[in-house]
């Protein structure tokens, strides 16, 4: 519970200002907390200059118990016959975390055919690979994957488990965390080790990206986090560059019992759709349409530009919600996170929910008629101008033989 020490409180008014929930007000000269609104997030206590606010938390884990958990695990998602790109991004980050802890980095692969390609995980920095491979692990079943990963974790006690916030990771990691009765932080954008207590500091956007919150899991192990694709950069897979040259990797194949493979979820058909054009996650160039695109003709011109730049088409939520383009193209808090070499935004105003999904792009070009649009605050190059006119000029300049398409 939260309490305010009336002796210490000076009535300075800092806490009502920092509270994101509107749960604190000054009554007379003392801060008072509305417990119906308070979520015990602790921001007030952290900001109180008089240390008058305390939040009592239960200490449940004994240090000796926590100390038995060692090492960093990365869930190596294997799907459609290959490891997901996010696995390599996480191995890069996992290597850093494991080195900071002075522990091993282990990749855990589950899936039919995952054994044959396991060496590649070592090239990306893993010291050891745990593989659960069986022809029966062809179609993904939440319950089987969760059972296998949680069993391995309770037997081998890693202190950290990372996984991609993909459709697969988001489906079964919460089950694993619940089975292990531990914490899980979704969609982290930063991960680091706090040296003094080996805590994993997990930073994620809150309130649609308006705030970043750093989450810790002090009394339970493992500390679990998911990370969206394209948030971290994958390490170089080149032996010489990566420092992984000559790394001895150990591959442990896990024995699976029929009990392990029992599932309540039966996959009867797997449909891989032909996505239109290059997909967002793997494109070096992304041309994005925002509300200011104005017309579907301009959207066609934008698609043409993306096409001749060999890039993908992105969109803000306003455009996908309007049905102009499918939700697969949405970038931002409720869509994809992207980090291409070049991001071109046309008529994108730059709502924070969109910015959190593309701020990692190397070069950001923004075209908008409103000079005060927030997108210009993050843009490498900004053009204040008419979207239609600039698009047409770019098409003429960059794409040979292209130009006016309608409008």
């Amino acid at each position: 519970m939260i309490s305010v020490d009336k002796e210490l409180c000076s009535g300075c008014g800092v806490c009502p200002d920092v509270c994101s929930y509107g749960a604190i007000s000054l009554v007379g000269d003392t801060a008072q907390v509305d417990l119906d609104k308070c979520t015990l997030c602790g921001t007030c206590a952290e900001n109180c200059p008089a240390d008058a606010i305390t939040i009592e938390r239960e200490e449940t884990g004994s240090a000796a118990e926590l100390d038995q958990w060692r090492g960093v695990w990365v869930f190596a998602e294997f799907r459609n016959g290959e490891y997901a790109p996010v696995v390599f991004e996480l191995l890069g980050k996992g290597r850093e975390l494991a080195d900071a802890l002075g522990e091993e980095l282990c990749a855990v692969a589950i899936g039919s055919g995952s054994r044959d390609q396991a060496e590649v995980l070592g090239n990306a920095g893993a010291d050891r690979v745990l593989v659960a491979d069986s022809p029966e692990l062809e179609g993904f079943s939440e319950d089987v994957w969760a059972r296998i990963l949680s069993r391995l974790a309770s037997e081998q006690k890693p202190e950290v488990i990372l996984a991609g916030a993909t459709s697969m990771g988001r489906a079964f990691l919460p089950q694993v965390a619940t089975m292990l009765e531990t914490g899980l932080t979704a969609d982290c954008t930063q991960l680091e080790i706090r040296a003094e207590d080996r805590a994993l500091l997990q930073t994620r956007p809150a309130f649609g990206g308006n705030l970043l919150a750093t989450i810790v899991c002090p009394n339970h192990r493992p500390q679990m986090a998911t990370v969206r694709p394209n948030v971290f950069r994958a390490p170089s897979m080149d032996f010489e560059d990566s420092g992984n040259s000559g790394r001895q990797i150990e591959i442990d194949e896990i024995e699976l019992s029929p009990e392990d493979l029992k599932s309540g979820v039966r996959v009867v058909e797997r449909k891989v759709e032909d996505l239109q054009g290059p997909d967002l996650a793997n494109s070096q160039v992304i041309v994005t349409a925002g509300r200011g695109i104005g017309s579907e003709d301009n959207l066609k011109a934008l698609e043409q530009l993306a096409n001749c730049l060999e890039g993908a088409v992105g969109a803000t939520r306003a455009i996908t919600d309007a049905g102009w383009i499918s939700h697969h193209h949405q970038i931002g808090q409720t869509g994809a996170t992207v980090a291409p070499k070049l991001y071109l935004g046309f008529g994108v105003s730059g709502a924070i929910q969109h910015l959190v999904g593309m701020q990692g792009s190397e070069i950001i070009v923004a075209v908008n008629k409103d000079p005060d649009a927030p997108i210009f605050d993050v843009a490498t190059y900004g053009i204040v101008g008419d979207v239609h006119e600039i698009l047409q000029l770019l098409l003429q300049r960059i794409c040979k033989g292209a130009g006016q398409t309608g409008g």
Partner: protein
């Protein structure tokens, strides 16, 4: 057939304003609404009930005013609802939340079928549905984009949407599913539904009512804690390209060539 739909009252994204200077939400005038994905969960529950019979119960954990969300669910056709509310639940992370919801569902006599929205738009974790299925000991399929009742009404055949397309999966009851927007078009409240919602008695259950272990709820039952919060800063690297549209485009092309992109 006992069908449960879990819903959450969230701040209406359209009415939330943000004070960038102070880094706080401007809560004045913020309306509370049912989480958008939960409407699809409610609709899915109603469709199954209409086909197979049974009762749909809406469950929400939140402050006492979350009762409005339950009333709205009833106006849409949900049979009954309950608010699980106690100050002791404050500070709950998803692990404590799934425990609390599972205790409420236990008190309701368990569930043959549970629907949740794929995620709440205020927290965006997408963890409560899958976590709750473990508490209840039933299978879970997330992000379903299409569904039909299996022959004999024994379960559901659903499209589980993913990055590449979808998997068609079959699950027998009892089971839990999380819903996305493309699953269905939620119905609008009927006049009769509105009348029923107005008159409905909505029970409010405390931690004691659901027999919750005090160590497993609220802050105490939450392994994760917020260590600090801060306002994100974006690296300012702005160069505005000036001149006529032709000159602006020319300047851009030059810079992209310089960066080796064109």
């Amino acid at each position: 057939m006992n069908i449960i739909v879990c819903i959450k009252q969230v701040p209406d994204a359209a009415s939330v304003k943000w004070d960038r200077e102070k880094g706080t939400l401007i809560r004045d005038g913020v309306k509370s609404v049912i989480n958008p994905f939960d409407y699809n969960a409610i609709e899915a529950a109603l469709q199954v009930r209409d086909e197979l019979g049974g009762t749909v119960t809406a469950v929400t954990m939140g402050p006492p005013q979350a009762e409005e969300a339950i009333r709205e669910a009833i106006s849409l056709g949900v049979d009954q609802g309950v608010v699980v509310s106690d100050r002791a639940f404050a500070g709950a992370d998803t692990l404590a939340t799934t425990y609390t919801l599972s205790k409420a569902i236990e008190k309701l006599g368990g569930a043959d079928l549970v629907f949740c929205g794929k995620q709440a738009i205020d927290g965006d974790t997408a963890q409560v549905g899958p976590g709750l299925s473990v508490r209840l000991g039933i299978p879970c399929v997330t992000c379903i984009g299409d569904m039909e009742v299996l022959e004999g009404g024994k379960g559901l055949r659903v499209k589980r949407m993913n990055e590449f397309g979808y998997d068609l999966v079959e699950v027998e009851f009892p089971a839990l599913f999380t819903t996305i927007a493309s699953l269905n078009t939620p119905r609008v409240p009927s006049l009769k539904g509105k009348m029923r919602a107005k008159k409905a008695k909505i029970p409010v259950w405390t931690a004691e009512d659901i027999g919750a272990d005090p160590d497993r709820i609220g802050l105490k039952g939450s392994p994760t804690q917020v260590a600090s919060t801060y306002i994100p800063t974006f690296e300012a690297r702005k160069e505005m390209l000036e001149g006529s549209p032709e000159e602006q485009v020319e300047a851009l092309v030059e810079r992209l060539k310089g960066a080796g992109i064109l």
